[in-house]
């Protein structure tokens, strides 16, 4: 097999641009499409399809409501007032507890509203990139104590998602949620705190092995005094070490932005983000030749993310066998994708809870390394939770979510086009098209036929009647309880 490359994919008669490839693009560059969206994308030219996703600025976004933090502000101000007036300990503690509770509720509200946005958005690639950055430039509860800071950080990602990554790295270095998450808010001259400097080099820009422990110590000195007050970045001159530092072989009176400039002069940096972007969108452990090609695009575009994404989504590699239907869905991809492709209505907080159980708790990353990719999502327990998730869609409850009681069964009849349904085989084909989006082997297809009480594809069936509805629910649960559905 030829080594996949970033050459433009040119559709041919034997390897056409079709529904399977359009579905692949919608899945990877977003959260999946309905059969109707897939058909529409398959009918476009490939570059028009890619550009529609990529140039999301020209798509009018839904007006999502902003989260109101005034209740938190009010409690905070009251707490300050009580402390200043030396109020009784008990009163202070009561208000402090109220503030904690209000802050925690806001965390939940942000999580729920983000998931709603991922489901409803008309700019799926933008939300996919926000998720990418949240998993790479990691901050989260409990180290970041303020919910509002997390909301501000998500706005930052949304604003800078596909622009200059160098500017984004500078912006995140000044972001209150990040400053508190990695303790740079207390990094001061004399006894520097290495936490941010280390992770900036190891996890955000260069990768391990491209710098020394001494470089970390020197970079930490350069970031002394970078802190925040309220919701704003503050540079505290009195805390800043303005002595001479030697970082990656360069000596000078560096501050944090100089450090970022020097980082972006290095070849390791040019390869780091392209590799992470490729692994997130295409496949893990890419060939070095591919990383090098993508690094070239990244450098030539002055660290622009969109240029890199466009090359990638139009490449042969992106539509190669190694890429197609080989990615394990993240819990967010699984949950948001299922809701988008079935059009069901579920309380966003229940969806958030389901993702938590499956191992992807938004705003609560496991550690500064973010979430795993690929097989890392799968173990015996997480797989059962992922399978059981369809009962949340179908019955309104799943083990661990929703108190265990059944809500009213969700509608399923819209998942099948009654006009095109004459046989059991027609029903199964439509389910496979919606959920698996590529052909299924005969044995598994036969298993799904059994849900309709038959072994035969040509068994006549009427897509009406209550018996059919309940058979259809069982079949949907089974198709979502298949290894094939875990992949995209």
């Amino acid at each position: 097999m030829a080594v996949p490359s970033l050459r433009r994919f040119r559709p041919t008669a034997s390897n056409p641009w079709n529904r399977v490839k359009a579905a692949h693009l919608l899945n990877r560059a977003g959260f999946g499409g309905t059969p109707e969206e897939i058909t529409r994308f398959a009918g476009m030219r490939i570059d028009a399809a890619v550009d529609e996703l990529l140039n999301f600025e020209s798509t009018q976004e839904i007006a999502f409501p902003e989260i109101d933090f005034t209740p938190v502000h009010r409690l905070f101000e009251e707490l300050v007032r009580l402390r200043q007036s030396r109020a009784e300990q008990q009163t202070v503690r009561a208000v402090a507890n109220q503030l904690n509770r209000a802050n925690r509720e806001k965390f939940q509200e942000i999580r729920a509203s983000w998931v709603s946005r991922m489901i409803q958005t008309r700019r799926p690639l933008l939300e996919k990139m926000v998720l990418f950055w949240h998993g790479l430039l990691v901050s989260g509860f409990p180290e970041t104590r303020s919910a509002e800071h997390m909301a501000i950080q998500l706005h930052l990602f949304r604003r800078m998602a596909t622009g200059s990554s160098k500017q984004l790295i500078l912006a995140i270095s000044r972001d209150p949620a990040m400053l508190s998450y990695l303790d740079n808010d207390t990094n001061r001259k004399g006894r520097p705190n290495e936490n941010y400097a280390r992770e900036l080099l190891e996890l955000f820009t260069m990768g391990i092995g491209n710098y020394t422990e001494q470089d970390i110590k020197e970079a930490a000195r350069a970031f002394t005094g970078w802190t925040f007050a309220g919701n704003e970045f503050v540079f505290r001159g009195a805390w800043h070490d303005d002595g001479v530092k030697t970082f990656l072989g360069r000596t000078g009176n560096w501050d944090g932005s100089d450090i970022i400039d020097i980082i972006f002069e290095h070849e390791a940096t040019a390869r780091f983000l392209p590799r992470r972007v490729f692994e997130f969108f295409v496949y893990q452990v890419p060939e070095e030749s591919l990383v090098e090609e993508l690094a070239g695009v990244f450098k030539r575009s002055n660290w622009n993310i969109k240029a890199m994404l466009r090359t990638m989504f139009l490449s042969e590699a992106f539509y190669s066998d190694k890429a197609m239907r080989t990615q394990v869905k993240s819990p967010v991809q699984l949950v948001v994708g299922a809701v988008r492709t079935t059009g069901t209505e579920i309380q966003p907080l229940a969806l958030v809870r389901a993702m938590d159980l499956m191992g992807q708790a938004l705003l609560y990353p496991p550690n500064v390394g973010g979430w795993p990719l690929g097989k890392g999502w799968i173990n015996t327990a997480s797989l059962m939770l992922r399978y059981n998730f369809s009962t949340l869609l179908l019955n309104g409850a799943m083990p661990g979510v929703g108190g265990g009681r059944r809500a009213a069964p969700a509608r399923v009849e819209h998942l099948i086009d009654a006009g095109k349904t004459k046989t059991a085989g027609d029903v199964v084909d439509q389910l496979v098209d919606r959920f698996v989006q590529s052909p299924l082997d005969r044995r598994r297809k036969w298993g799904l036929l059994r849900a309709f009480g038959t072994n035969r594809e040509d068994m006549p069936i009427a897509a009406t009647g209550t018996n059919f509805q309940s058979q259809l629910r069982s079949a949907v649960h089974l198709v979502m309880s298949m290894p094939e559905y875990q992949l995209t």
Binding site: R188, L383, S474, S481
Partner: protein
């Protein structure tokens, strides 16, 4: 093993694959057969003198535990000079020797120490230490500091060697959200769960009956006989089958035992209680894995660290008492580790940055308690960090050899020196 029993058990447990006309792949057949009598010692070859029913519990203290504030050199001026804000005052230290003592929140494990049921191995590390969480954790979990690409963990490689109940998915049970690399085995054995109640596939109970749904579930998830499928889909099918054959047994074990011992209301204590329940329920398991997180104390360390040590002490102490009440304390050894210790000198955030060597802890009624290894010098440092005296792989080798009866050279690649704590 009696074949008749096997057959009946097979059908009763609903593990047979023949009902829907599919031949069970051999690994499932083996698994299902082996489930019949989990501790049938005649099934496996084992080393004379090492009982097959011994269990290891690994506790991972994620984030880098501050060893110097855990086992404290309370007569050493260098310690107090390096930590003007964070040092534990001499009068608060629980004395163990004239020079060393435990953090005040370790009172409950000090009781175990006094009974000879706790060993402290000091100054544990490895050459050319990495101060990256991820690299160092990978090194501890694969037991490979040389940086080769190792896909399987040190415990996984033990599962891959011939060990008692190694043919069963539950030979390793991780209690937590993500399976640790340490348990990654070539044979794919080992299960992971957080909550036994959600560790099962739920039929939708809409159109079909439960029995029919379960049969179809197996059909849709079983590896196809004789078909070589690409890696990930095969991995998913194997994981689904491992879950399927072990979930009922895990839930039965957990539900069959209610401890009289009180556990603290923390995630770690919950994990340890769950493990105690599975041990009481005779789950065929050789290694359990539990997690603590939050040891990465770069800022405002004091409250966070003392709270974590309290959780560790409570969790281990309740677990030990529970095992004693069950009569299983002789069968279980607990091994606690962290990916690194922390810098000797505190930073300006009332915290400590990433360091190197730190103590490891071993608990168990059958061990030889006490202090092992030397406390690293606080003045002879390497880049501000402690020099290790004991290689962590020699601790693993001791446990593999003397506790589990396995050959450490095969699993770790070298014949590391054995410690005297077992």
């Amino acid at each position: 093993m009696t074949q008749g029993m096997t057959r009946r058990e097979f059908i009763k447990k609903g593990l047979t694959m023949v009902a829907v006309g599919v031949t069970a792949p051999s690994f499932i057949t083996r698994t299902a057969l082996a489930m019949n009598n989990p501790w049938d010692v005649a099934q496996v070859t084992s080393r004379p003198g090492v009982p097959d029913d011994r269990i290891l519990v690994v506790v991972q203290m994620g984030g880098g535990n501050d060893g110097l504030n855990t086992v404290i050199p309370f007569t050493n001026d260098a310690y107090y000079r390096a930590r003007p804000n964070l040092a534990i005052p001499q009068k608060e230290v629980i004395r163990v020797t004239d020079e060393l003592g435990f953090h005040p929140n370790l009172a409950q494990v000090k009781d175990l120490y006094d009974k000879g049921a706790m060993a402290v191995i000091q100054g544990v590390g490895y050459p050319n230490p990495s101060r990256s969480h991820f690299k160092s954790m990978e090194i501890w979990q694969t037991a490979d500091p040389e940086g080769r690409v190792v896909r399987y963990g040190w415990i996984g490689r033990y599962f891959d060697s011939k060990c008692p109940v190694c043919e069963q998915p539950t030979v390793g049970v991780n209690v937590g959200q993500a399976m640790p690399l340490a348990m990654n085995a070539e044979t794919g054995m080992g299960v992971s769960l957080e909550n036994p109640e959600t560790f099962q596939w739920m039929p939708a109970l809409n159109g079909l009956g439960e029995k029919e749904e379960q049969e179809l579930f197996k059909l849709l998830n079983a590896p196809a006989p004789g078909v070589d499928e690409p890696g990930t889909i095969d991995f998913l099918r194997h994981t689904a089958m491992n879950a399927h054959v072990s979930s009922e047994r895990v839930r039965a074990a957990v539900n069959g035992y209610r401890s009289g011992v009180e556990y603290a209301n923390t995630r770690f204590a919950y994990s340890m209680r769950l493990i105690a329940q599975m041990i009481a329920g005779k789950l065929p398991t050789k290694v359990y894995y539990a997690h603590m997180t939050g040891f990465d104390t770069h800022a405002n360390q004091r409250g966070t660290h003392e709270n974590l040590l309290q959780q560790l002490a409570e969790g281990v102490s309740s677990f030990y008492r529970d095992l004693e009440a069950q009569g299983n304390a002789d069968r279980v050894v607990v091994l606690a580790f962290s990916e690194f210790g922390r810098r000797v000198a505190e930073n300006g955030s009332n915290g400590t940055d990433h360091g190197t060597a730190a103590p490891m802890f071993v608990f168990g009624k059958a061990i030889k308690g006490g202090l092992y290894g030397d406390q690293p010098s606080l003045t002879d440092l390497q880049d501000g960090d402690l020099k290790h005296g004991v290689d962590f792989r020699s601790v693993y080798a001791t446990v593999l050899d003397k506790w589990l009866g396995a050959d450490p050279a095969k699993i770790l690649g070298h014949n590391f020196e054995r410690g005297a704590f077992i």
